[in-house]
Symmetry: C2
Subunit: 461 residues, 2 copies
């Protein structure tokens, strides 16, 4: 971003903590005031321990990998056929590991629905007995190269987007989006919800598989980049991205051997759901984030996910270890008839968006999102600006027009989070706290800070 | 718009001229400094003559009609079957009236191409002889309830969008968009250009007719409103609007009796042209603007159009009379291999967009447009802000997220144009000045002021 502000006024910064950041701003000719603020002594010691050349080098590599990753749509497949280790009576769920007994209402609702969808039980009561008896295994999506929005429940017969990173060679997976309101991922499991999932399994999934096979290698990165120029942030606003995706899928849908009635139903289903792109975007973000999983010495955030009970993060240099805290409560707007007292704590793997430099981090691109999550357009800009404070770079492919085409903030450095007290901002849907109800709104929240302190201690220790 | 500015700073205004405007700002609690600036004495006298209750009342009615108009897509038809008076060897063109001898290069190129398309001549030489001999009639689109982008040439066998105003009952027409580059409306007329037009006549037009018949009453106003939330201004940036339109047309295309191959070709043609929506938007804008044509005592702009030689305006209270000035030269960005010295003066009926409160007037919605026309995102915002000075209101349906969802400026008051010296800003494509070449860029310019003075004198006289 240039040092000229939005209305031609020069930008100025107040810098807290790391003096090098202030010096870099001054070197670029921007006004900056350095304030000698220091985090609590214990944290300051940890940060000091991690101000090492190996960490800087590893973080530079992490930033490079996150930005270079080029996720392309490689296929649409039955989860049981492609997701590593998804065998037997195993269901995947969002967030860090959690057992049935501690699962929140909407995740329980989704798990029960998935058991019925798979035919492992015929009634919700039977399904519940199976789970209570430990007859169904439950593991995080993140442990299987996958991510899932909200409850994030993935069962073998569901279909997934297969996203392949053309640069680093890794794959990632995410289910197909069901729509808003009364849907499995928000905890609903009534017959109409299951009937929709059955149609997706029997008709939509196979049709999309043929369509993508007929026109492979759609660049998800290019779709996201274009959508950011069109008012989306690709987490809670996917209006443009969904229409762009439909446009990309159409030639394949129309070329492949698919009946015109099926094409019409598929196109109408996609058209009627402005969040259809979310799941594909999440797979792409996971694909990028996985490139830094286990990158020694790096203090960059590699995953952030919630199971509705806890939120967890992973840091690149610490591999697959989770650091958790109680899940927060989003502030937002509620659908008619619902209020904050109905809402479940923060839920879902969709925060992989923010890890990869989109979602709430790109909110300046999406001022119209405030109609969905509350606040004013100026808040959306302020959120993005604040995230630059804790990120190592700006995404070279994801540009924000209103900030003079600055790249989105990307690569959260846990040192900076602890140092500044600024935690990642999260856009999210809001689920009813009881199983079986569904989505009741959408909102925003800051990630809790404790887990970043824990992760920093582990990195320094 | 609230009196709070974009970054939470209060807005303040410097008011020139009309004290009532300053008083109104003060009454709303906004800071405003009134400067005793007056336009030249002769103009000031004219303005004073028009500060009458009848004019205020007529202008209030004009604003109301422009905002209330609800253009819906009523059909796609052969121009010769529906455009009033389009019979015999008649071609319609953009802008105010002009004869063959004074027509600029690109309009000549388009007229010649249309003569070949209609089969009235077999070679460009023969076509030119016919025109020189006066064997082909030439009249403005605007005289037939139609509008056309750039050269705006409309011939009987071309297909048109038929837009119906559900509130005031009037219809308007515009051709189907051919794409960018080497296309008829930018003056190209080679065999490939004519082959594309023949395909549009024989296959695309009839398919769209069936598609729209299968799913009629698509609200063009709603599409434009949504596109403004997605980074378009619906004149020179139609990326979002085109995908939204495709989404609306798809169910009809897939439901009607149209071969899958034709559907695929139509969908690919629309998908590959990010300006496909422009022509439909123009018909909708014409539909709104025509509601004030001949509205006695109103000083509101009812049309603005260029034929590449002259630009002309109409004012509501003066019916179908044109006030003209030499066409200006746009400043912009040029396609590779071209420069300003190749460009034709400003051309086309597409300035009906600005008359109806979109296009350059809504540019604050479309910061990414600067990649196409030049300038910085902050310029885009400044242009919209400046247009509020000469407009009577804010469009209740067309909102700009980044300006806290303020409505776009709408209803240009010719009194204010003369008083402030601010003329309407125009977004435009740039045609090569020679016939047969095509589009070479896109840019921006201010309408010349003389014709507004002439119109004001006619209103006062």
């Amino acid at each position: 971003m240039s040092s000229e502000g939005f209305f031609g006024k020069p930008l100025s910064a107040v810098n807290l903590g790391l003096k090098s950041f202030h010096e870099s701003l001054r070197a670029q000719g921007a006004a900056s005031i350095h304030v000698e603020w220091k985090p609590p002594a214990a944290s300051a010691d940890l940060i000091a321990k991690l101000e090492r050349p190996e960490v800087e080098a590893a973080n530079a590599e992490a930033l490079k990998r996150l930005c270079d990753a080029n996720p392309v749509l490689a296929g649409v497949e039955r989860a049981g056929d492609v997701v590593p280790g998804l065998v037997g009576k195993l269901l995947l769920h969002a967030g860090p590991p959690i057992g049935w007994e501690r699962m929140c209402g909407p995740v329980r609702g989704a798990v029960l629905g998935a058991v019925l969808l798979e035919g492992w039980a015929q009634t919700l009561e039977d399904a519940e007995s199976m789970l209570a008896a430990g007859e169904v295994m439950l593991e995080p999506c993140h442990h299987h190269g996958a991510v899932g929005p909200m409850a994030g429940v993935l069962s073998p017969s569901m279909w997934v987007w297969v996203v392949h990173n053309d640069v680093h060679g890794n794959d990632a997976y995410c289910s197909l989006n069901e729509g808003l309101g009364k849907v499995l991922r928000f905890g609903a499991n009534s017959p109409d919800v299951l009937a929709r999932l059955a149609w997706m399994r029997d008709e939509l999934g196979p049709a999309l598989k043929k369509a993508v096979a007929a026109r492979p290698h759609i660049s998800v990165r290019a779709l996201t980049a274009q959508a950011l120029l069109m008012g989306d942030e690709c987490h809670n606003r996917n209006v443009a991205a969904t229409t762009l995706l439909l446009k990309e899928l159409l030639p394949g849908l129309l070329r492949a051997r698919i009946g015109k009635g099926v094409v019409r139903k598929a196109a109408e289903f996609i058209s009627s759901n402005p969040h259809f792109y979310l799941n594909l975007s999440m797979a792409a973000c996971k694909c990028a984030a996985d490139t830094i999983l286990g990158l020694a010495n790096s203090t960059v955030l590699s995953a952030m996910a919630r199971n509705g009970t806890e939120i967890g993060i992973r840091v690149a240099g610490l591999g697959d270890r989770w650091f958790t805290a109680p899940a927060g409560m989003p502030k937002g707007l509620y659908f008619a008839g619902f209020s904050a007292s109905d809402s479940n704590p923060d839920l879902g793997d969709s925060t992989i968006s923010e890890v990869a430099g989109v979602g709430a981090f790109a909110m300046a691109s999406a001022p119209a999102i405030v109609q969905f999550i509350g606040g004013a357009p100026s808040d959306a800009i302020a959120h993005t600006r604040r995230m630059y404070e804790i990120c190592l770079g700006r995404h070279p492919h994801f540009k924000i027009p209103v900030l003079d085409f600055a790249g989105t903030p990307v690569a959260v450095d846990v040192r900076r989070v602890v140092e500044t007290g600024v935690t990642p901002i999260i856009n999210t849907g809001i689920a009813h706290r009881l199983p079986g109800v569904g989505q009741i709104g959408a909102g925003i929240l800051d990630a809790p800070s404790e887990m970043f302190h824990q992760a920093l201690a582990a990195m320094a220790g």
